[in-house]
Symmetry: none
Subunit: 237 residues, 2 copies
DNA sequence: CTTGACACAGAACGAATGTTCAAGTAATAT
DNA sequence: ATATTACTTGAACATTCGTTCTGTGTCAAG
């Protein structure tokens, strides 16, 4: 996780919850339920929300009325919390990463892939800069991050566009459901697919439901290069 | 007994209920339940309260959200629900930009949106960090950058997903084909659409081909808030 | 006196919603 | 490694709370 002081400050989810409450209340005139916070803050369980609500109360940002629906009120307006956020931004601001842009994911040709001895700072390759706290990657894995540019629109079904930059974590293995960059030896190409290990075979699922999955029985013919952790798209200004 | 005029005004109980709601809301920060109104207004049954709430809504004094606990709000002035904007520029550090995350783009609800005198830092926002050299925006315009989080999947085939963060450049005008965040006065919402000025009308094209474009003839009913310059998607690591 | 609109009582139903727990995973400290 | 703390999951449970329904009483007009 990101370097963050837990005792005093608010982490990303605290802020998200707090922001959701304020937003909702301003919009509807009454505070949200736990489940409504869950949806809007993209959290996964009511108990997670409850967990953070307790902490926000502990820290004095909100007050809860137990057992009462929508029993929430914001004590410190978030403006007060901005100072905290600011602090965190300052903390992490010099904490950014230059990620090597190692190549392109092209449908028709193999890509130069960072070998195990690839250096984080390669004068030749171009770099992209990402704040560490933007990366959903634990600190210790941050050295395994690299980036590639997508060329062609073969990945459109995965919501990834021509010209997008995908940021990947280098890994030889993937868990089911991960979006991975995978080298297909037979097709002589690297693509982005959703990865599912089904035991006797590997299923590579395009995001586009109209496209059929690819089944791999011989694991030696594929090579997982990395797991997608972020996608960045620049549009023309 | 008092002469109760039915059609026009409010009788004693209407007022009592109304005042109870306001009082309660001011005190606790959230609206009362029907039963709480019952106690405080010294009424004898929940159905009585319900009865008067319906009438108050009929008369336009309150708004009810059916089936929702504490789903009440007093319709007076839409006070300055928009967040007070505090501002602070700490951006100068390094080559980094802390971009205010000003809210969400939600299909079904209005969002508090920075007004025309929008300042870089919003009270209700958290920030995201982007390297300046990552932004396809000239340095001088960098103060006009802000970010929003997308909620809902109406933009799915614009390659924009639920949970994505879109980074926008504040602008009142757009060029044809730009993806813009646009405020629809009629619908009271902000959405992402492709913008096309067709002379006598504006066409707002959803990316989803199953959805019909929106045509705007009265330009005063829409407001372009910004042009999308970047999309960032974080995946779970 | 009926009739009907209005105001109210009381209870019961079911959906909405807060709470809790047992167990799991991940990050961090020892 | 191992222990420890921090966080997450998913579900079940219990209560709160909006709704609805049946019935009662009032009052004024026909």
């Amino acid at each position: 996780m990101m370097a963050r002081k837990k005792s005093a400050g608010l982490n990303e989810k605290h802020i998200k919850v707090l922001q959701t409450i304020e937003n909702f209340t301003n919009t509807f005139g009454y505070p949200p339920t736990i489940r409504e916070i869950m949806e809007r803050a993209h959290l996964s369980s009511t108990s997670v929300v409850n967990y953070y609500l307790d902490q926000l109360e502990e820290k004095g940002y909100i007050e809860r009325s137990r057992g009462i629906s929508r029993g929430l009120r914001v004590l410190k307006q978030f403006s007060d919390a901005v100072a905290v956020v600011t602090e965190q931004v300052l903390e992490t601001v010099h904490d950014f990463l230059s990620i090597p842009l190692v190549g392109r994911i092209v449908a028709s040709e193999p890509i130069p892939f960072p070998s195990s001895d690839f250096k984080p700072y390669d004068a030749e390759s171009s770099m992209i800069s990402i704040a560490k706290d933007m990366l959903p990657v634990p600190e210790k894995n941050i050295g395994d991050i690299f980036a590639m540019e997508v060329s062609g629109d073969s990945m459109i079904d995965a919501m990834v566009n021509d010209g997008d930059i995908v940021i990947l974590k280098k890994t030889g293995e993937a868990r089911n459901g991960d979006m991975v960059a995978i080298w297909l030896n037979d097709n002589n190409e690297t693509t982005l697919k959703y990865f599912f290990d089904e035991g006797k075979r590997i299923r590579l699922q395009p995001a586009n439901p109209t496209m059929d999955p690819i089944y791999i029985r011989d694991r030696s013919t594929v090579e997982v290069h990395g797991k997608v952790v972020m996608v960045v798209r620049k549009l023309s200004a």
